[in-house]
Amino acid sequence: MRQRSPWFHALMIPFTLLWVAPMVFVLIVALRPFSDIVARGLSALPTTLSWEGFETALTTGGIGGALRNSAIVTVVAVVLSLFLASLAAYALSRFRIPGRTVILLLMLAGNLLPPQILLIPVAKITEALGIYDTLFALIIVQVGFGLGFYTFVLHGFMRALPNEVFEAARIDGAGPVRIYALIVLPLARPSLAALTALATTWIFNDLIWAMTVLRTEDNFPITAALLNLQGGFVSQWNVVAAGAVIAAIPTAVVFFIFQKQFVSGLLVGANK
């Protein structure tokens, strides 16, 4: 329908190349041996490639252990928060709980708060509970902070489910728990998938909560460990770049595999 202009690709190809240039550059730096960078400068085209940067980052740089911490925190926090959010959303969307709109908006408001207003007390609370500097603290904080948003999105989805299904189940004698497990959860799979993609990147990418409740390097997730790496390997750009690339890979993979869910997740985020 629209006129295809020859200028379109002439404009978009250079622009896109400019857009990906930072990523390509960092990848190249990560793959160069340190001696080569010292000898020929950071921006020179590589003549030799090596895994040296990656090896150093993963071992002495502590990125390997950090990756494991991030994986644990992300998996547990995503599963736990979506599970709790789905329970709350089910209760709020399918039952006549008094004041449910207010409760829902209050939960959402909690997620919209600037985290800064929570940081100092959260650190103090984890200290008082004796869980400061543990992965458990990071998980529970992530769950608490994300819950409101996930509940809101799932609520919107669950209340749109057709009533007939619930009537039929009720007539068959199914209680609320059975209806939740056998009907609501399977039907909510598309929105759960979108939220999983979104929550995974959010939690995996978080830095500020990790800096708030963790102190020991061994407990750091990848983001906090990266900042340490940057401090510890000043001017060893291949190591720093390799660390950044390692930290970028998991979310990039999630993105490419779940591109559709990811984009629809961003949109539920916007349409909330």
């Binding site: 550059f25 709350a88 089910y90 209760a91 709980i97 600037p114 100092i120 819950l147 940057q230 970028a248």
Partner: protein
């Protein structure tokens, strides 16, 4: 759906609601609610009371009334942070919206290569802000890609230590943040453009409206709801921005790149001025709350409409 069946006496309504909702459903609701209350609402309230004290985390907090807020008024770093945050909202928000919207309009068509362009542009969005910050530290390093490109283009005079120069460091960080944000804004607008009625645009074209007129008069008014979302998201995000600044400059050089959030973190955690840090957090909250409320009002309208 939410309309009450009949007019009931208010006293019995609550009682009946409690009876009608099975107890297990109350558990379903109250457990998540309790988790959020304990980890979000309770700490938020604590920040308010902490902001009226002076406390280094040991012993008892010393009440100082509005002292912290008075100190903030005369604190030059706080003023820098506040000014930087204004620059950030306008620069970060403005640039990412203009570029994101332009790309969405350009890429809102079927065709070869479109998917590839879109994927390339929103790929940075999946990286964490910490990773983005590190990427750009490599790019901004003295002989990194930025200076190298300027040199190759014969613009060697513009070369500088981007992150060590107080005059440009904030903008250097801002460019990195925009690079990551554009894809997100583009996705939002692409979705909004799907809802634009092409018949209207064609009719306007028939009437002789040029591209720009069609865009400003026909397309933009139909994007009003996306605009509102983008505006709220951008302002709320700007006030939260922390990671990328911390990863790239930690507020330096000479405090020139502090945003309210990084200054709050430095005061609260690096210097352990818990009361003072809390007061900055309360300021951030006060600035954000207007936008949070407008966002919630929109949400409730959409809930009712759907």
């Amino acid at each position: 759906m939410t309309a009450p069946a009949t007019a009931e006496r208010p006293t019995s309504r609550w009682a009946r609601a409690f009876r009608r909702v099975p107890w297990v459903v109350w558990v379903f609701l109250l457990v998540p609610l309790a988790v959020e209350a304990f980890w979000v609402f309770w700490p938020a309230m604590n920040s308010f009371s902490l902001s009226f004290t002076r406390w280094n985390g040991v012993g008892a907090a010393e009440p100082v009334g509005l002292g912290n807020y008075q100190d903030l008024m005369s604190d030059p770093t706080f003023q820098t942070a506040l000014r930087n945050n204004v620059i950030w909202v306008i620069g970060f928000g403005g640039l990412s919206v203009v570029i994101g919207l332009a790309l969405a309009v350009l890429l809102n068509r079927p065709g070869r290569g479109i998917g590839l362009y879109r994927a390339a542009i929103y790929l940075p969005m999946v990286f964490s802000l910490a990773v983005t910050g590190l990427f750009w530290r490599v790019l901004y390093s003295p002989d990194g890609l930025v200076n190298f490109s300027l040199d190759s283009l014969g613009l060697g005079a513009l070369e500088r230590q981007w992150l060590a120069d107080p005059d440009v460091a904030l903008y250097a960080v801002l460019v990195a943040a925009v690079w990551r944000q554009v894809g997100y804004i583009m996705v939002l607008y692409l979705a909004g453009l799907k809802g634009v009625d092409p018949a209207l645009e064609e009719a306007a074209a028939m009437d002789g409206a040029n591209r720009w007129q069609r865009f400003t008069r026909i397309v933009m008014p139909q994007l009003r709801s996306v605009n509102a979302v983008v505006f709220a998201v951008t302002v709320i995000d700007s006030l939260r921005t922390f990671d990328i600044v911390w990863a790239m400059t930690r507020g330096g050089p000479y405090n020139s790149t502090h945003l309210l959030s990084t200054y709050m973190f430095e005061q609260g955690f690096t210097l352990v001025n818990l009361g003072y840090g809390s007061a900055i957090a309360v300021v951030i909250f006060a600035l954000a709350i207007v936008f949070i409320i407008s966002y919630l009002v929109r949400s409730i309208r959409q809930e009712d409409a759907s």
